[in-house]
């Protein structure tokens, strides 16, 4: 039967797509459905015209959905060549070592995309950007750090990159605030502590606990050097949205059936004795899809069934991934004509250029660092341009002469800003406008040509409902948006869901997916 599957996967977000690729690879018959006409759901990459369309449909917030958006401001005009932009709804960098990059490589999806090292990472302090050393090597070369401080910092980094779990320094300090730990146990200055907290440890707020922050520092330090000096990679064409398409193609190549842009009309749960427990009805698809298992994003299943789903999330005690639950993320996408100056040119410390000069750089505004900005949340800035095929190259644009004369790279930059929040109700424009203004003030040659401010609301914590869940009905907990960690989190969640599904289907196939050992190279015919 053409419409009977082992598993129906609903939603093409990052965790769903990784899981679909693994399940198809393991030999299961997979149908993968998304009501949107594009791949990627909340992690999608859109062209600029698609983004404008997306923003117009989200100008009123639908509180029905577990993850929902509210657009607070959209530029009335759209720059030319809108199809040459690849804009991510969930901009992120990829740690060079971690579960996500492993999945990309072992699934063979690496061949579908292109990647670059992230450029400089900077922190905003005392009204300017300062480069953050990304490896021990670069700390040695950094002349802005006093020698005594440098020695203390090195001592900390040696500690943090080693097996610190049983070390005397950590005993009894696991839940101390990381800031206090750095200052008291390693005598680091407030300035250096901030740099470590908000860049290497990618804290969102002050006061995060020491143990989890240390895990993130360690994975950051270990990632540096795998592909180059930066611990992070950026993907071409908007990053994770493009990689999602690679995972979906990998699933299709292994027999997965793809249905996009069809509304999910109904999800029916049959009696336990039925061989196909689940039925999914789609608009404009005559045959009802049937399966013995469903794996879905929370957004794609009817409200009435949500409380009966088995939440599938990777163990929350995977080190380094524990985060305080967010309520919302304020986001901004801005496009400038002209090239943003990478932060290493701003400060007094002239850091050596990162190899393979990237047009993507990342900067963190710690809480309270910017006048008029937030005193409680950090804000992350990520840029992308023609160098990662995210924006049209300057040569194809009618550009402003004086800009051309100062720029030898490209002439369009995309600016992403994100601010994690514990509370709702504020306007993303009010929250992020001061940051955008600050960035543009220090880059007077850049002309703002497009801006979008929106709020991404996240569902309140769902506790696993005790009692009546439906077997083989798996739903992903929502992915915590995070520039540094969400791709790794997605991969861990996908792996967990993969094993749950394999177990649920009771598959007789040789179930390897691409996490277990075995040959992971897709054979050519």
């Amino acid at each position: 039967m053409d419409n009977v599957f082992d598993v129906i996967v609903l939603g093409t977000g990052l965790p769903e797509s990784i899981a679909a690729a693994a399940l198809a690879k393991a030999g299961l018959k997979v149908a993968h459905v998304d009501p949107n006409p594009y791949y990627g759901a909340d992690e999608a990459t859109l062209t600029l015209d698609e983004l404008v369309q997306w923003a117009e449909t989200h100008s009123t917030s639908s509180t029905e959905e577990p993850i929902h958006y509210r657009v607070d401001y959209l530029s009335p005009d759209c720059p030319s060549h809108p199809k040459q932009y690849s804009i991510s709804l969930s901009p992120s960098v990829i740690p060079s070592i971690g579960p996500f990059i492993s999945s990309v490589i072992s699934s063979g999806v690496a061949r579908y995309g292109s990647y670059k090292l992230l450029g400089p990472i900077a922190i905003y302090r005392n009204d300017k950007f300062q480069s953050v050393p990304q490896s021990k090597e670069s700390i040695f070369q950094d002349r802005s750090i006093p020698l005594v401080e440098k020695r203390r910092l090195m001592r900390f980094l040696v500690f943090a990159s080693g097996e610190f779990e049983d070390s005397p320094e950590l005993q009894g300090q696991e839940n101390t605030s990381f800031d206090r730990f750095l200052r008291e146990s390693f005598s680091l200055s407030e300035e250096i502590s901030q740099v470590i907290m908000f860049s290497l440890a990618s804290c969102n707020f002050s006061g995060e606990s020491t143990l989890t922050a240390l895990h993130r520092v360690r994975s950051c330090l270990r990632s540096a050097g795998r592909y180059g000096s930066s611990p992070f990679l950026v993907g071409y064409y908007g990053g994770s949205g493009e990689i999602i398409q690679g995972f979906c193609r990998a699933a299709a190549v292994n027999g997965g059936v793809y249905i996009l842009g069809r509304k999910i009309l109904n999800v029916v749960v049959n009696g336990a004795q039925e061989p196909e427990r689940f039925a999914v009805e789609l608009e404009d698809v005559p045959d009802t899809l049937r399966s013995s298992c469903i794996l879905s994003s929370m957004t794609c299943i009817p409200r009435s069934l949500r409380s009966q789903a088995n939440l599938t999330a990777s163990d929350s005690n995977v080190p380094g991934t524990i985060r305080c639950q967010l309520s919302a993320v304020a986001r901004c996408v801005a496009i400038v004509q002209g090239t943003l100056t990478p932060p290493h040119l701003h400060g007094t410390d002239d850091m050596p250029l990162v190899e393979g000069q990237s047009d993507s750089f990342l900067a963190v505004f710690p809480p309270g660092s910017l006048d008029g900005g937030s005193t409680t949340s950090s804000v992350t800035l990520l840029t992308a341009g023609a160098g990662t095929m995210s924006a049209p190259s300057g040569t194809s644009m009618a550009s402003i002469p004086q800009i051309r004369s100062v720029s030898n790279r490209h002439e369009i930059d995309i600016i992403y800003l994100s601010m994690p929040l514990h509370e709702r109700g504020m306007s993303s424009k009010d929250l992020l406008q001061p940051y955008l203004a600050g960035i543009l003030d220090s880059n007077p040659m850049c002309q703002l040509v497009f801006q979008l401010f929106y709020m991404q609301h996240l569902p309140v914590v769902q506790n696993q409902s005790c009692g009546d869940t439906i077997p083989n009905f798996f739903v992903f907990s929502h992915l915590q948006p995070d520039v540094f960690q969400s791709v790794d989190q997605a991969s861990l969640d996908a792996e967990k869901a993969f094993w749950s599904t394999i177990q649920g289907v009771g598959s007789q196939t040789n179930c390897k997916g691409f996490w277990a050992e075995g040959d992971n190279v897709e054979q050519d015919l």
Partner: protein
């Protein structure tokens, strides 16, 4: 001096018009009457020698069935230098679908893409529903290459790929939208993910 070019070629067309069979004939010189939908290959490669000096290597992407519900990803068209849009000469409706795919290509793909329209199943001419004149006229209007093939007998298959190869190096400039892999103009600088980690377990990122 010998020259080698490498191009990405994408296949398009309605389900069951013989896209995969056409490639299987071209790449392996095989045919299977009961082939199921495409399974198992990310892409196939085949090299065409033009004049002893010039070779063209095609990296051929099949739809992997994602065309069935119009669910092909933008990534599929990305950096494609050429496309073979296939219809079935015994199904008039398949030429209609081919026209839609060509419109889609003109919308999504690089403007310099070389498009060949290909009427497959020429061995079933007795059941023909699409005349050569009709298809050829449409191809001329749209500036497409056109020919008929039979993946079953092999007729015309090599010819259409050779014709594309001849047209390509001249019409496809080093594309500004070429990504990190597979372009004729050489790879754009980027990171090779498969490079082995130098320090996977040591945690020592520097040797100072």
């Amino acid at each position: 001096m010998s020259k080698q070019f490498q191009f990405k070629l994408v296949l398009l067309g309605e389900s069951a018009v013989g896209k995969s069979s056409l490639v299987l004939r071209f790449v392996k010189d095989q045919f299977d009457d009961y082939r199921e939908s495409t399974i198992g290959a990310a892409f196939l490669t085949q090299t065409v020698t033009l004049d002893g000096q010039t070779t063209v290597k095609f990296e051929i992407w099949d739809t992997a069935g994602q065309e069935r519900y119009k669910s092909l990803a933008p990534m599929y068209y990305r950096n494609a230098h050429c496309a073979v849009v296939v219809y079935d000469i015994t199904q008039a409706s398949s030429l209609e679908k081919a026209r839609n795919w060509i419109r889609e290509l003109q919308r999504q793909a690089d403007p310099s893409i070389v498009i060949a329209l290909c009427g497959n199943k020429a061995d079933l001419a007795a059941r023909r529903q699409v005349t050569q004149e009709e298809a050829q006229k449409y191809a001329e209007e749209e500036g497409l290459m056109w020919s008929e093939t039979s993946a079953k007998t092999g007729e015309g298959v090599a010819d259409i790929f050779t014709a594309i190869a001849k047209k390509l190096p001249l019409t496809a400039p080093p594309s500004s939208r070429t990504g990190g892999r597979g372009g004729p103009s050489g790879a754009r600088q980027g990171v090779d993910l498969n490079r082995q980690a130098a320090s996977q377990n040591g945690g020592e990122a520097c040797n100072c």
